[in-house]
Amino acid sequence: MIAFVIRRLLQGVIVMLVVGFIAFSLFNFVGDPVALMLPPEATQADRQAMREALGLDRPFWAQFATFITNAVQGNFGISLRLGRPVSALLVERLPATLELAFVAAGFALLVGIPLGVYTGLNRNSWLSRFFLTVSLIGVSLPTFLIGIFLILIFAVWLGWLPSFGRGDTVAVGGWTTGFLTPTGLKALILPSITLGLFQLTLVMRLVRSEMLEVLRTDYIKFARARGLTSRSIHFGHALKNTLVPVITITGLQLGAIIAFAIITETVFQWPGMGLLFIQAVQFADIPVMAAYLCLIGLIFVTINLVVDLLYYLVDPRLRADRAVAGGH
């Protein structure tokens, strides 16, 4: 178990170093920071002085080491577009993205699991076929179009819900939240549906196929033979065993949700990290791009690690297998 954790941790560190290296290369090979910071009429001596002041004359690896040290401390320099420290910008935008991502994931699970159970249990009813067809169309719909259509229907035609922004937010400590005001909650509805819809179809299809698989197993037949109620069989025995892959996939999808938030945030002008990133790409704002890259990398590596460990804890068979294979 400990060896497994250490190996996974090491892999995570290596991936982070690679991501950091790419982010660092952005600074080094894309544009010349000295040319950007000095006026065009600067002399060669000025340039040299600037180079030394910035530490750009040092060997490549020494510069990389400095970059990593700074990055670990959250120091990514100053945004070229907004003229403010990148870390402050990201911290300011983080709550908006995280709130959106968690509401979207919650929506996907709360609606996706019951739909999956229903379509798994009643596989031939017309309602199940309807859900499955709709989910196929849902997969072919790009996120931004779902957002646009939702805005068109609920904001422009019906006028029920706001079409952009977060509504009123309340600052709790350093965290701005939209959960505490009515306009904030209303503003969350359309973006989180847009963001969660793809994951919803995924969860639904996954739960359905797992249910079909589990319902065929011997212990379900045995439970039926014992005369248990269908309710206790379906929810107590079957559903419980379908949840292992659901946990894994949802965990892994949480990263995808945060990444796809870029699109949703652009459609709804949601003031999160994704919108910051897309503006950085449009303006070639390297420090923001590098910092976002590192942050997303960190989130992905952490999620992968946590999911692996969770899997290990939830499914006792994995532990047994490994113990045997490892000769313990």
Partner: protein
Amino acid sequence: MDAIRRFLDGDVFFSFKRSPLVIAAFVVSVGCIVAAAGAGFLAPHNPFDLATLNLLDAFTPPAWTERGNPAYLLGTDDQGRDVLSAIMYGSRVSLLVGLAAVSLAMVVGVSLGLLAGYAGGKVDAFIMRVADVQLSFPSILIALLIDGVARAALPKEVHDTAAIYVLVLAIAASGWVQYARTVRGSTLVERNKEYVQAARVIGRHPLAIMFSHVLPNVLGPVLVLATIHIGTAILTEATLSFLGVGVPPTQPSLGTLIRIGNDFLFSGEWWITVFPGAWLVLMVLAINLLGDWLRDALNPKLR
């Protein structure tokens, strides 16, 4: 003639004939391709010919509504361009970028997969580790990043002309992994078969063995994968263009059209967004359905 008769009697065509949904998907796909390829002759207007544009025609709603003009079936946009014609020209850009990106991803992925599977050892470990790391990030993020780097690295004038190539590269770079993994898996199996050993014994060059002997035997699943990938690639292109980092506005794709139309959503000109969006969905849905069917029809295990 004989080949055609054999195809018409074969079971692939039989399963095609039996499913009305697949036939519909086929008709829609072919229709989209013809409309895109023949945009120059078929489109009722030329949306890029400034001489024919009339600003007085701007924001004409679709022809069947009250203020509609029969000359503009699906209405016009803010500059008086015919939406239907713009869609036909736009889907040409979308299809071209999608096809080019899929081809590039296929060539790169298949080559690396062959190399990894046939060479084994450190080469294999390196390629597959890169693939693993890339696979743990969503492809749209990787495409965005490559696009962003190119935008920062190239001067503005160069970037505008090169934007489409950068886009193709970005989408291809985010999609090669699946081809590499599939091909590597089949190559590992093929490598130990007798015909490969025989080729090795007669002293053929490893590259010749890989490309002329192994490649034809691992290509089947790759083609199916490519069909499904086309839909994804078109959606990725549309998403990037919608985000404003895709093709330049001078050569709008479907995604660019949707982005332009999005600005007029609130003033009630819904047709500028909705029709390109619906066209995109219809096209991708049809291609995906065809891909799904092809995968099942060519898979002997499912029969």
